[in-house]
Amino acid sequence: MTLVRRNIWSLSTERRPWHPNVLAYARAVRAMQALSGTDPRSWQYQAAIHGRAGAVPPPGAPWNECQHATWYFLPWHRMYLFQFERIVRSFVNAARGPADWTLPYWDYSRGAPGHALPPAFRAATLPDGSANPLLVAQRRPSVNAGTPLPASVVDTSAALAQSAFTALGARTGFGGPQTGWAHQGPAFGAVEALPHGPVHVQVGGAGGLMTNPDLAALDPIFWLHHANIDRLWDLWRLQRASHTNPTSAAWLDRRFSLRDASGAAVRMRARDVVDDIAQLDYTYDSLPASLAVRVESEVAPVARRRQPVMIGRNRRAVSVGTEGGAAVVAVDALPEPAAAAASAPRLYLDVADIEGSTNPGIVYGVYVNLPDGASGADRDGHLAGVVSFFGIEQAGRAGDDPKGREAHPIRYSFDVTELVERLRAGGGWNAKKMRVALLPVEGSEPEGAAAGTTRPVRVGTVSLYAG
């Protein structure tokens, strides 16, 4: 029987937060938290598989294995969730909970009420009056109070509009750039850039668990957030026949170590998880019964594009503090407007060579030529995308990490073709100079005791590409 992962907001509402599935999850979390951290089925151990800085892993433990800013981001997290779900189900079943228990997902992108943290993760106690293990104090206070996530933080349109899973140069595709094993790779794929990273940082805030990859999986909402990212992968594949996964052996056959429901070592490949229904026997309540049944729409031919070339960049690095920062990009040889032609050059804004020691816990909008004092809809008209700096703790360590594994500065890439055309048409464009401002998106301003205590993030390169 194919198990179905359900939207948490269809199970847990403000009036009735404790659906049996959700209550079973809370009790399983508590049981896992009670185990020793060296037990592979424990909460601490499972979180450490994602990341745990500075800790010495037990012999053979697959800690610090999460894959970010790489084309392994999606398959690795699917394997991770799949094994975690089986571990939780074993605890649920041991406590005589629902036999077909599945991990819910949090779809925060469809407006009210789902764009707020689910009520069961905000309640102080379980129905029996005991402390709620799903409530974590180390979150952005307003999120724990039920304030909705800002729309710009949960937007999936840019990710789902990607035509390829992976791409070269300034284009990173839906799933991320081709790399080797990468705890922190060179550039985020579109779905990792938004909504994945911004939701992490918006929920965690300054100093929160979700904000730091080395702590994120300790927050029970982490798993529901990643179930949604996993669902978005299926959704993207279902949109068009041309939306396919990589077929390269380098992607398909890469092996990763995890722990199964008995705590035993298990190795999985991307090849083993490309079809969650057929291979892993689960699906989502919002998806068709088979991934083989594609929702065919008009399949536009994908124009062959040349490697993008840089047509402008900043001279000075930008220091981004809690108030934000700005760069001036000298531009040359911007292609003439020809957006109607499929083969016309597209424009990409690269925000790269990003380093820092701590995430400020703020989601920043990247605005092009934003007039002083603009707010609300005026700001939105200049928005190229958002950056969250999720993973900057790894990226700040120049070169390889202490285990000799690859680490990179963070890089984001945004397709700004339409934005630039709009600014040109509206007279908001200077042919020689572009001003790029990074400002906290509305609703993501600093909050809590840790806000304002972090050091600024350094953005080394802001550049414009055409190709």
């Binding site: 080797g180 840089m310 040359d332 060579d353 070169g399 080394g460």
Partner: protein, 231 residues
């Protein structure tokens, strides 16, 4: 060196080298192999110092130029279009120059060892066997391999040329940490092109196949070592 400044605003100009920055190292390597194949640059142990130096330079470019492909691509991508060609040329020149300097320095111990000990084939074979052992057993080797292709941030403006050249030199030094024994072995083996070809192929295979086909490069090195010792 002065950095070329941006031209007046105009049409985006793209050259073949901007679209295919790997063409320069591949072309230079191909030219080097053509000279080697023509017998003009095979290390024979005869001739004057200038001939030796020229021969070493050609051999070095032939064998090592393909390893400059990652740095050529990186500097092309990270440079504005009006400077991308220049960036590729500067980075490759620095890469090749650094390697030629290193090979010239290695030339002296190669000559001394060959004169003082066993025949060059056997010494070279033993060195290559050592490389094979490293490729098979050294856990830090993968990290060093990645360093050969590690991108580095580049400034715009006056420092750009310096940064391009530095990127090329750093890539060469990172490669040299791995490849100097193979280069020394190559310099000790007189008069044959095939050890050069075999070592180049093994070096490329090690970079192209890591980490999936880890056995391929050690096997290639071992085969080369065996062929040298048994010659």
């Amino acid at each position: 060196m002065t950095s070329r400044t941006a031209p007046a605003a105009g049409r985006l100009g793209r050259s073949w080298l901007i679209d295919r920055p790997e063409a320069l190292p591949v072309g230079a390597g191909g030219l080097g192999w053509a000279l080697v194949a023509a017998g003009l640059a095979t290390h024979s142990g005869t001739g004057g110092p200038a001939f030796h130096l020229g021969t070493v330079a050609v051999m070095t470019v032939a064998t090592m130029a393909p390893l400059a492909i990652p740095v050529a691509r990186t500097v092309a991508f990270a440079s504005p279009w009006w400077r991308a060609r220049r960036a590729v040329v500067l980075a490759f020149a620095a890469f090749a120059g650094t390697w030629i300097a290193l090979a010239s320095v290695l030339h002296l111990p190669a000559e001394l060892l060959r004169a003082a000990a066993w025949p060059g084939d056997i010494l070279g074979g033993l060195l290559v066997a050592g490389v094979a052992a490293g490729a098979a057993l050294d856990p830090a080797r993968r990290r060093r391999l990645r360093n050969c292709a590690r991108p580095s941030a580049m400034r715009d403006g006056p420092g750009a040329d310096h940064d391009c050249a530095r990127a090329g030199a750093r890539a060469a030094l990172a490669c040299a940490r791995l490849c100097w024994p193979a280069m020394l072995a190559m310099l000790m083996v007189p008069g044959s092109w095939w050890p050069m070809a075999a070592l180049s192929a093994a070096g490329l295979a090690e970079r192209a196949t890591a980490p999936r086909a880890r056995a391929l490069a050690p096997v290639a090195y071992v085969a080369t070592a065996a062929a040298l010792v048994g010659r």
